[in-house]
C-alpha cells in the first residue's frame, strides 16, 4: 500500500505547494513511483510547480464521472517517477464536496498504486479537508514564522483532533460531549480537544482507549518555511513542545526551510528550484527535510475509516 503524506496548515502562501512539489521531487529521486495530488481545489497550482503548466486531466474528471478510475486522471511530469493529479480548473471546492463523492474519492486514493502519495491539502479546515488529512497518520504541517500562520496551524491540528474524536460518536453524543466539556472546564474548552478527551476518559472508557491508541500512532511533523535570518530558529521545536505538552499529541519538528529569493526566481522561470539552485542553504534544508521524512520508511498503519 502507498505511503500517504497529507500536507497542510499555515495560511495561503506559506509554501505548502512548494514544499509538496519539492518533497515529490525528492521522493521520486529516490527511485520511488511518487504521486502528488492537488486537493487545494480552490487555489490549485501544484501543476505549475511540477512542470505541467497545462494538465490535460484533473481530479474533477473523476468526480464528474468523465473517467471511472481515479488512476485515469494521473498525468506524467517531466521528472522521472513523478506523477500528478491536478486540481486545475476544478469547479468544485473541496469543502463543498458531497458526502458520497468524498467517500468515493477517499477510497480511490487509498487504492492507488504508488510507493508514495503526497496530498497538497491547502489551508482550509472544512470537514472534508480534515477527512483527507486523516487518511494517514503522517500529516505534515507547514507554517511560516508569523503569528497568523501559526494560529492557523494550531486551529488545523485541533480540528483534525476533534474530527478524529467525532468518528467515534454520533452527532448527538458529540454534542453532549461538547456541552459536558464546557460545563466542566469553562467556556475556553469549546475549542480544546484535550478537555473533551478528559470527559471521554470518564464517560466512554472504551472509546477513550481506541482514540488514545490512535493518537499514539500519529506521527505528525512540522516544517517551518520561509525562516529569515533574524527569526528564532528554535520556534518549530518550541511549537512542537507545546503541542505535545498541552494537547498530548505527538508531533516532531522536521526542520527549518530558510527564505530565499531564488525560490521566487525558480518559480517565475518555471524550473525546479532544487535543480536550478541546488547549492543554496534552502535546497540543503529541503533535502534534509526529505531525508527525515522518507528515510526510515517504517511501516504505515492505514486508518480504515472508510
Amino acid at each position: 500500500m502507498a505511503h500517504i503524506w497529507p500536507i497542510g496548515g499555515g495560511k495561503g502562501g506559506s509554501g505548502k505547494s512548494f514544499i509538496t512539489s519539492s518533497l515529490g521531487r525528492l521522493s521520486a529521486g529516490l527511485g520511488r513511483r511518487t504521486l502528488v495530488i492537488d486537493l487545494d481545489l480552490g487555489a490549485a497550482n501544484l501543476h505549475t510547480l511540477v512542470g505541467v503548466p497545462y494538465p490535460s486531466k484533473s481530479f474533477s474528471d473523476f468526480l464528474q464521472k468523465k473517467v471511472t478510475r481515479l488512476d485515469d486522471t494521473v498525468v506524467e511530469t517531466p521528472f522521472e517517477n513523478l506523477f500528478l493529479i491536478s486540481g486545475a480548473q476544478d469547479p468544485f471546492d473541496i469543502a463543498n464536496l458531497p458526502y458520497e463523492q468524498k467517500i468515493k474519492a477517499l477510497r480511490a486514493i487509498m487504492r492507488l498504486d504508488y510507493a508514495c502519495i503526497l496530498l497538497d491539502l491547502g489551508a482550509g479546515t472544512s470537514f472534508n479537508t480534515l477527512d483527507f488529512f486523516l487518511l494517514s497518520q503522517n500529516g505534515i504541517f507547514i507554517t511560516t514564522p508569523e503569528p497568523t500562520s501559526i494560529e492557523n496551524v494550531y486551529r488545523l491540528i485541533r480540528s483534525v483532533y476533534f474530527r478524529r474524536i467525532r468518528y467515534c460518536f454520533s452527532v448527538s453524543q458529540f454534542k453532549a460531549l461538547e456541552e459536558e466539556a464546557i460545563e466542566q472546564f469553562g467556556e475556553g474548552a469549546f475549542n480544546k480537544p484535550e478537555c473533551m478527551m478528559k470527559v471521554i476518559e470518564r464517560d466512554h472508557p472504551e472509546s477513550y482507549r481506541e482514540l488514545q491508541n490512535d493518537f499514539n500512532a500519529f506521527r505528525f511533523r512540522l516544517v517551518i518555511n520561509q525562516l529569515h535570518k533574524r527569526d528564532n530558529a528554535v520556534l518549530g521545536l518550541h511549537i512542537c513542545r507545546i503541542i505535545e505538552k498541552h494537547m498530548g499529541l505527538g508531533i516532531e519538528f522536521t526542520g527549518n526551510v530558510s527564505y530565499d529569493d531564488h525560490v521566487h526566481d525558480a518559480i517565475c522561470q518555471q524550473v525546479s528550484f532544487l535543480d536550478r539552485y541546488p547549492y543554496t542553504k534552502t535546497a540543503g534544508e529541503l533535502r534534509a527535510v526529505g531525508r527525515q521524512i522518507f528515510q526510515p520508511a517504517g511501516r504505515q498503519l492505514m486508518l480504515q475509516y472508510v
Binding site: 514564522p145 503569528p147 501559526i150 494560529e151 494550531y154 486551529r155 475556553g188 484535550e194 478527551m197 478528559k198 476518559e201 477513550y208 488514545q212 528564532n232 530558529a233 528554535v234 520556534l235 521545536l237 518550541h238 511549537i239 513542545r241 507545546i242 505538552k245 498541552h246 498530548g248 516532531e252 519538528f253 527549518n256 542553504k281 540543503g284 533535502r287 534534509a288 531525508r291 527525515q292 528515510q295
Partner: protein, 226 residues
C-alpha cells in the same frame, strides 16, 4: 491521558532531566519564558490569558524550587515518595557535566539506533565537501550543519546521544550568537557534537569553531550598533 500541565512534576514542566545542573535549570527557565510569556510567537493564540497566567506561575514556582538546593532536595524526596523518581541523588547537583543518576520513571524513549562510526568515518573520507569545509581556516555553525547534513545525521539523534538540548544545537548551527550559552559550555557542546560525528581532531576543530564564533559574533554586534 497524558497529564495536564499542572499535574506534571517540575522537571517535566521545564523539560529537563532530574539530574540537571543549575545552569541547565536556568536555561530551561529562560526557554519556558520564551514560550509562555504574553506576546510570545510560539504560543500565539494557544492559551487564554487566564491559562497563560496559571502556566507562568507554575513555571515560576518550578524554577524557584529547583534552583535552590534545599528546596530541590525536599522536592526530590517528595517525588521519590510518589514513585516518580527511580533513585535518590547521592551527590550535590553536578556543577559541570550532569551525570545520569536517576531518571523520571515514566520516560517514553524513542531511541534511534545511532550511526555506525565506521560508516561515518568512511563517508567523511569520501566526501570532498567535508574535506573542503574542515580544511578551511574558519568553521562556523552553518559549516557544521552542512557537514552533519552531508553525513545524514539528524539533530534529534545528536541531542539524544549527547544530552545537549536540541534548541542549543539549532542555535549553534544557525549561528544565533545571542542565544548561545556561555563560551565554556559552548565549546564543550561543540566538541561533543564533533565527536558524535567522528570528526577529527575534535579538540582542534572545536577551537577553530570558537575563534570563528568570537569573530563573527563581534562583527554581528558591530553591525547591530551601527
Amino acid at each position: 491521558m497524558r497529564k495536564s500541565f499542572a499535574e506534571l512534576n517540575y522537571y517535566e514542566m521545564l523539560d529537563i532531566r532530574p539530574d540537571a545542573a543549575a545552569f541547565e535549570i536556568r536555561q530551561a527557565y529562560d526557554a519556558a519564558l520564551q514560550i509562555y510569556q504574553p506576546g510570545s510567537l510560539v504560543s500565539h493564540s494557544f492559551f487564554t490569558d487566564a491559562e497563560r497566567r496559571e502556566i507562568l506561575s507554575l513555571v515560576e514556582k518550578a524554577y524557584r524550587t529547583l534552583i535552590q538546593d534545599q528546596l530541590r532536595k525536599a522536592y526530590d524526596d517528595e517525588l521519590v515518595r510518589r514513585g516518580e523518581l527511580d533513585a535518590v541523588r547521592e551527590t550535590a547537583p553536578a556543577v559541570k557535566k550532569p551525570v545520569g543518576i536517576f531518571s523520571i520513571s515514566r520516560g517514553r524513549g524513542r531511541q534511534p539506533a545511532g550511526p555506525n562510526p565506521e560508516s561515518l568515518k568512511n563517508r567523511i573520507l569520501q566526501s570532498a565537501r567535508i574535506r573542503e569545509l574542515t580544511g578551511r581556516p574558519a568553521l562556523s555553525g552553518e559549516d557544521l550543519k552542512q557537514i552533519r547534513e552531508e553525513l545524514d545525521v539528524t539533530l534529534e539523534e545528536i541531542s539524544q546521544a549527547t544530552k545537549i538540548r536540541q534548541d542549543h544545537l539549532i542555535n549553534i548551527e544557525e549561528d544565533c550568537f545571542a542565544r548561545l550559552p556561555a563560551a565554556v559550555f559552548l565549546k564543550g557542546f561543540v566538541k561533543s557534537y564533533l565527536k558524535y560525528l567522528c570528526l577529527k581532531p575534535a579538540e582542534e576543530l572545536a577551537a577553530r569553531y570558537m575563534e570563528t564564533f568570537a569573530r563573527l559574533s563581534q562583527s554581528q554586534r558591530a553591525e547591530e550598533n551601527k
